[in-house]
């Protein structure tokens, strides 16, 4: 009897230890199911340009997450799936449904350690994924905090997105990942092509596109190398994205009124065409004796800023160049509290037809992250964001206090 109990305990421990997310594991026939997720909330005080201070309580860069995943071995293949729902916490008025809702992950994968893994479905994009995964504000707040009475049911803030890197986003994809070869691993895939839009987080004006990538998907890839010497551990990575933008519609230069119908008719450079957007990045993270230093840089054309393809084209349909990056330093105190500092910048250069000359978004973040328990982190952040358009600067300061639970 005692032996049976010991075996049962050992099996339960092994099942828990085998769980990638270390959530709640449930053996179910051939499958091992795992329920995991995140719950977070922050008190955020924001002082935006020309506005009085705003106090809000909401979710941070991550929404809340409830993810169900499963894994099994069938026909000599590792088979797995993930489905997640992601409710946000911020609301600004009554009867608003309790916050926004995202659906970030729904994919399945199959493969083997000998030849790699194929993934089909929606997951974090491939390009710039390491940039956000290494951002210390991923489980904090960062930039883009809610303003006073900000409208809608926002699910998240922006962290370092748009002030140091582009958002990898959650994309439908078909991707192949190699086995881990002594620390080297690569992923290539085709992903859902995006349209370019004129987003509010960027300069005013610009062309839009409405036909995605036309007959081609977006192409993304990344490669990384993990290393561990005696005292120094780290990772270096590169990634890239290329996508055709089809159905580009430029902004009309004016309007006239039809003499026959009396309706306004756009005049000037209204045209449809295509462009090809490209972007590459490189990053490295080194750790030694409790210190971790991370550096990242990206450079692209036609991909815009903040969201991939957002504000990527000028009003005449020309590609805008963009680049940026961030540096981040963290140190773990003997109390296990992690202190961090980060500086990031994203720039967008004007192209033919633009009414602005330059656009830049910078941020400085000071953060403290404390493991109250093994599954609860307390977070305190100060964030200074400076948006410069045509050499005119607007500064937003944010203080965030809160916590995040992951299971």
């Amino acid at each position: 009897m005692n032996n049976q109990i010991k075996l049962a305990v050992a099996a339960a421990l092994l099942a828990a230890a085998s769980s990638a997310n270390a959530g709640i594991s449930i053996p179910a026939g051939d499958w091992t199911l795992d329920i995991g997720g995140v719950v977070n909330a922050f008190y955020v005080s924001t002082k935006a340009p020309g506005a009085s201070s705003a106090a809000n309580i909401g979710t941070g860069l991550l929404p809340n997450v409830l993810a169900v995943s499963g894994s099994t071995r069938q026909n000599d293949l590792d088979v797995a799936f993930v489905i997640a729902i992601d409710p946000g916490g911020y609301t600004s008025h009554a009867l608003s449904g309790g916050g926004g809702q995202e659906n970030r992950q729904s994919f399945f994968s199959f493969g083997d350690k000998s030849w790699g893994t194929i993934k089909l479905g929606k997951d974090l994009g491939i390009f710039a994924s390491d940039a956000i995964l290494n951002d210390m504000t991923l489980l904090g707040v960062g930039t883009g905090a809610y303003g006073a009475g900000a409208a809608g049911n926002a699910t998240t803030t922006l962290g370092g997105i748009g002030a140091g890197y582009l958002y990898a986003d959650w994309k439908e994809q078909i991707a192949y990942t190699t086995p881990n070869m002594n620390g080297f691993q690569a992923t290539v895939g085709v992903t859902q092509p995006y349209n370019t839009i004129v987003a509010s987080a960027g300069p005013t004006g610009g062309a839009t596109s409405g036909l995605g990538g036309g007959s081609t998907p977006a192409f993304e890839g990344k490669a990384s190398y993990d290393f561990a010497a005696d005292a120094v551990k780290g990772r270096v990575w590169v990634s890239g994205l290329s996508q055709r933008l089809d159905g580009v519609t430029t902004v009309p230069t004016g309007y006239s009124f039809s003499t026959s119908t009396g309706l306004a008719v756009a005049t000037g450079s209204v045209a449809k065409g295509s462009q090809t957007a490209n972007v590459e990045d490189i990053g490295a993270s080194l750790s030694a004796s409790g210190f971790t230093l991370t550096g990242y840089y990206y450079n692209g054309s036609g991909v815009g800023t903040t969201g991939v393809m957002d504000n990527g084209l000028s009003s005449t349909g020309q590609k805008r160049d963009s680049d940026g990056g961030y540096v981040q330093a963290t140190y773990v105190l003997p109390t296990a509290t992690k202190l961090g500092f980060a500086y990031g910048v994203s720039k967008l250069e004007a192209a033919s037809g633009d009414s602005f000359t330059n656009y830049k978004n910078e941020r400085m973040t000071f953060g403290a992250y404390h493991p109250l328990t093994k599954h609860v982190n307390l977070v305190a952040e100060y964030n200074n964001e400076r948006v410069t358009t045509n050499n005119v600067q607007a500064t937003t300061n944010t203080v965030a206090l809160g916590g995040i639970l992951f299971f």
Binding site: A22, G36, V82, K233, S287, T330, G367, H370, T373
Partner: protein, 84 residues
Amino acid sequence: MKLIMTALVLVLSGCAQLMNGQAQPVLVKDANQHIMFTTCNGAAEGWDTCATKATKTCNNGYLVLEKTENAQGGFRSMTFQCKK
């Protein structure tokens, strides 16, 4: 006065709790093969703390067998084997 003392006790006990952060544990996955498993999820831990825990666990160094990472919440796990 009682109110001040009560508040002081609460603040000091809260600070004492904050001085004692809890790391995510290292679990034995296969004792015979010296295979271990740990996580470094969240904001306070990262790959650096996973590596530090492995270094402290293994006297003669270690070999990384598997690393997994999920972007939803910074979930990170590492399976490693202590060198004999």
